[in-house]
């Protein structure tokens, strides 16, 4: 809270789903910090609670307990009006590019939706801003007139990124933004995000199951398993010298494309069987 460069700080976040004893703890006592301009990677497999954690960070869902501070402000104590003001600082990019855009409005309207919700500018200025943003993410102005169904998955993800940038956010939460895309398009989107970050300086929380992506993008990484953080630290350190067996198992499962897998230790098969 006191350090100025810390943008987002979460303390002991817990989220239980379901109730009356039969519930599950999706996120179990997770604390983290995101500094201005940095990228924090969160890796884990399905059921690790990484997506739930992302939503807790920007109060899309309410935690069972714990605290979130944004630039020192207690996010969970905010009145709805103040929360809305802060929301413009956080934007989210979702996994499914078709599912996160409104199908019945044009691409330009989708991009300028945050401006519309925030009652910023008039129709014409919003349209101009949308076209500008479309060009920023590598699309053309004319794409603005189309509807999401007419674009490919990769193009729609660019539209979603353009929308996320409309209010010049300080923090971008990316929830598996490339895992629904073809490999060649994944690479396009990643290099787009890296370029935009270098240019605009926003912070990112990047959630993925792909360790190679995290290594490339994130300075620090959090490894999650069944709601808990099993390991955290600078990415090079965590991946170079993993302390937790789960992190080791994850790293051992990555299959390189450019060279044969060299005598990597193959994790004990039955120990990983979930359930």
């Amino acid at each position: 809270m006191s350090e100025p460069q810390v943008l987002l700080r979460a303390v002991n976040l817990v989220k239980d789903f379901g109730g009356r004893g039969g519930g599950t703890r999706a996120v179990d006592t997770v604390s983290l910090e995101v500094a201005a301009g940095e990228t924090l990677g969160i890796v884990g497999e399905s059921g690790s609670g990484k997506s739930t954690l992302a939503r807790l960070l920007i109060r899309l869902i309410e935690p069972t307990s714990g605290q979130v501070f944004y630039r020192g402000e207690d996010v969970l104590a905010l009145a709805p009006g103040d929360l809305r003001r802060l929301r413009s600082q956080w934007q989210m990019v979702f996994q499914n590019p078709f599912g996160s855009l409104l199908p019945h409005i044009s691409v330009a309207d989708n991009v300028s939706e945050p401006l519309r919700i925030g009652r910023i500018g008039d129709r014409r200025s919003r349209r101009a801003r949308a076209e500008e943003l479309l060009e920023t993410v590598g699309l053309a102005k004319r794409h603005g007139d189309l509807y999401p169904h007419a674009l490919s998955g990769g193009q729609n993800q660019r539209v979603a990124i353009a929308r996320a940038l409309a209010l010049e956010p300080e923090l971008l939460i990316c929830d598996e933004p490339t895992s629904a895309l073809d490999v060649s398009i994944q690479a396009q989107i990643l290099s787009l995000l890296m370029g935009l970050q270098a240019e605009l300086g926003f912070s990112m929380v990047f959630i993925t199951h792909n360790l190679a992506v995290v290594e490339r993008l994130a300075g620090r990484v959090l490894v999650m398993d069944r709601g808990r953080v099993v390991e955290a630290g600078p990415t090079a350190e965590v991946f170079g010298n993993p302390a937790d067996p789960y992190t080791r198992a994850l790293l051992g499962s990555v299959l390189p494309a450019h060279r044969p897998l060299e005598g990597a230790e193959i994790p004990e098969r039955t120990s990983l069987v979930d359930d």
Binding site: L60, R87, Q91, F94, L101, I117, L146, Y147, I173
Partner: protein, 295 residues
């Protein structure tokens, strides 16, 4: 900037059509639905201009020509026992039936929308109440309810409309509720929330436009159901008060003379059946237009 311009180079065939454009295109490709829609428009026009088209007053008896055959004595479809022109009565009967069905359906839909959206979106108490009420309604025969209502309110057109609407709105509310609950979890709704959209914006701009499909489909199936309910009430003797005609009362009355003058029951029944079929086929078309199985 590292971003490349995302232009495939080759001139792609670009589809600029909006959602509605595409839906209409899909609906149009279904011949049966299109013809049915045309037929319904024709029926609606006939009903609307019944006063202009009908050669006779539908309710004025002419005892000189009771139960005549079609194309005799200047009556296109013959006359009934009181000598009233069947064709004219058919037009007015159609008007009454359509008016009752449409109004009842719209009334039911309006209630269903308010309650269904509230229950599905906000959940909590409203939801529990709605579910409990629907369960009670399911246990209660709709007709019994309608009979009680019609008895209490008298045999007016409006009491019939109310009885039909009361009988059908809960199921529709439940459907809208289910739709809301489903759409609430969609990523674009989450995206809207993350952008700071309030509940009203989310409901009006995000949820409702994307629930239009199921809503329109229930409406287009709800109208024939309401027509059926109206004729059902007529058979129970709770149709529109005489001397006014509706398709339901015409069928019921015609039944008495089925051996003497089958035309009396045939024509209203024929129009009724065609309208029911047409509504159902339009409903099928709407459903396919909104929920494409291929693509």
């Amino acid at each position: 900037m590292t971003a490349r311009t995302d232009d495939g180079g080759a001139a792609l065939v670009i589809d600029r059509t909006s959602e509605w454009g595409r839906r209409w295109r899909r609906f149009r490709s279904n011949r049966l639905a299109l013809v049915s829609l045309g037929f319904l428009v024709l029926l609606a026009l006939l009903a609307l201009f019944a006063g202009v088209i009908a050669p006779y007053d539908p309710n004025t008896p002419d005892y000189s020509k009771s139960l005549t055959d079609p194309l005799t004595g200047g009556n296109l479809l013959g006359t009934d026992v009181l000598g009233r022109d069947t064709f004219s009565r058919l037009l007015y009967g159609l008007r009454t039936a359509l008016f009752i069905a449409l109004t009842a359906e719209l009334l039911a839909l309006a209630c269903a929308l308010v309650v269904g959206v509230a229950a599905g979106y906000f959940g909590g108490k409203i939801d529990q109440l709605l579910m409990a009420a629907t369960d009670v309604m399911y246990a209660f025969p709709t007709y019994l309810f309608a009979v009680i209502l019609a008895t209490v309110l008298g045999r007016s057109t409006w009491s019939i409309i109310l009885a039909i609407a009361v009988g059908s709105w809960l199921t529709q509310a439940r459907l809208i509720r289910a739709q809301m609950i489903k759409l609430k979890t969609f990523e674009y709704v989450e995206a809207g929330r993350s952008m700071g959209a309030g509940s009203m914006t989310l409901i009006v701009r995000y949820l409702l436009p994307n629930s239009l499909g199921p809503i329109l489909v229930t409406t287009s199936f709800g109208i024939p159901a309401a027509m059926l309910a109206e004729s059902g009430l007529a058979i129970l003797g709770l149709g529109v008060a005489p001397p006014n005609a509706s398709l339901g009362t015409m069928i019921t009355d015609g039944y008495t003379y089925v051996l003497v003058q089958p035309n009396l029951i045939f024509w209203p029944f024929f129009v009724f059946a065609c309208a029911m079929l047409a509504f159902t086929w339009v409903g099928d078309g709407v459903r396919d237009a909104f929920d494409p199985k291929d693509e």
